[in-house]
Amino acid sequence: MQVTLWVAGQLLKSIRAVVAMMVVIFFSYMIVAVLAQVFGRYIFNYSIAGVSETATFAQIWMVFLAAGLATREKLHVGVDILYAVLPRPLQRVVAVLILVAGTWFLGLAFIGSWRLIQVGMMQTSPALQIPMWLAYLSFPIGIFYFALEFCISYIRKIWVSIDISENEETAK
């Protein structure tokens, strides 16, 4: 049991590190690409075709991946005025309800995204003819990581006594 938990913890850590790295890369690419577009147009008088398309795809990857990171940083806000004053047992019930509903939604979105990828196998992007599945792939991967972080955060809310304090450090 201990070993399994340790392995799971290490796995989670490496997933988080990879996701964070990818997010930084995609975000940086967006900035560089859009700046290149501006400078290309005015300074070198040369228009870089399709740059905005690749930047938009990078944005989609960035958002789907960073959705999970935002969960860790408690950035997905809600109106928790009522939740805060509920007695503890009721809080748990509400948290279970939100966990179930949220997982259901993310699960359906995940399934739907595979259909999108199947379509994307036959599509290419309008400007650069990039295969669309490259962009669509961000969806299942991002949603999977999002669901993972979402479940972790709500399971923690329901059952605070679980000791995952080890991961709490890296969250800072």
Binding site: T56, V63, Y83, A84, L108, A109
Partner: protein, 425 residues
Amino acid sequence: MTVVAIAFFTLIILGAPIVFAMGVSSTMAIVSEGVPIAIVSQRMFGGLNSFTIMAIPFFVFSGLIMEHGGIARRIIDFATALVGWIRGSLLLVSVVSGTGLAAISGSGSADTAATSSLMLPEMRRRKYNIDFAAALMAAAGSLGPIIPPSIMMVILASVGNLSVGDMFLGGILPGLLMAVGLLIVGYAHARYHSSTYSEVTKFSLRRLGLSFLKAGPAFMMPIIIIGGIVGGIFTPTEAAAVAVAAGLIIGLFVYRELKICNIPRLILRAASISASVMMIIATASIFSWLIARENVPSELVSFLQGISDSPWVFLAFLNVGLLMIGMVMESISAILILIPVLMPVAESYGIDPLHLGVVVILNLSIGMITPPYGITLFVASSIAQRPITRVAAKVLFPLLVMIAVLILATYVPSVVTGLPTLLSD
């Protein structure tokens, strides 16, 4: 549609994150009507597949750079030299700084956080009324979405098919009027409790000039952003990327308060904040698809036209309704839900979409300082370490001033549309 409404409000009341309230309720409607589930994924993808909304992560990032790159402090120094010699100086300085920061960053909470954390220690030392000061800074911070650049305006323009540049211009005059009003409120407060607020910084032309030179690079940012968009040099998204580049250059090489090794951390923070906003945009596009499919706007049009066909009455209802929504709802999700419904209705009353857009922004920004869900009020009171109820009790006069400008902008459309019309000709 009733399924969506019931599920959405239940989840919101229970405290579910808005992205889930929106996603779960719209998906329920999709499933219950037998629409293929791929629509959910397709709409979410479509919501993010937009070059326009890329301005959001860029403006969030440039806001963080401003916060950490020493830009906020230079603006406050300049504001101190400008108005610090008047009675109640720090109150006025915080309003001027809040307005200045609003012209650089696109978000109200970032502005409030920057001014409150830098101003409050000195206000404490001079024994200012901290509750009032926090309320005033929250109000000044809520100018962030009104005075361009503005993340809220980018979202509204992309949902409502409006020009981001025109929205930005439309916000300038109402924003500045509100700033003047807040200055008057601050000064009146200082006059009324005169003994506490008499300590001032002496006016010196040299100091004003020096602090202006130091803040100069920071003031270049709004000029680049607004000038560039209005002059047709670049699109709002490109302007936002240029703002990031300018902010990085200023923070790294001019003020030297930013370090290269800190940048990945700032990027991660910017990405997380943007993702939390943009995931709401993604799920809201499932919702707006449902709205269009169910023909909600046209039904609402015939219902409202049956009550009154006067645009004045409609605007009055709109303001009251939006102020109430702004009290309980987070502004970005309010825009995403309301704009697809409101735009066609307003058009049926012959209201200029640009005018409507800015009025919505004004309302929702005022909602940032109205309890219980007032985000800048919350930020200011938590930085001041005061109970939010105490700070909220002092928000009345700043609030009244902002509402007065809202009414002016609602019934004198040229306050909003004047500048965009003038500059686009």
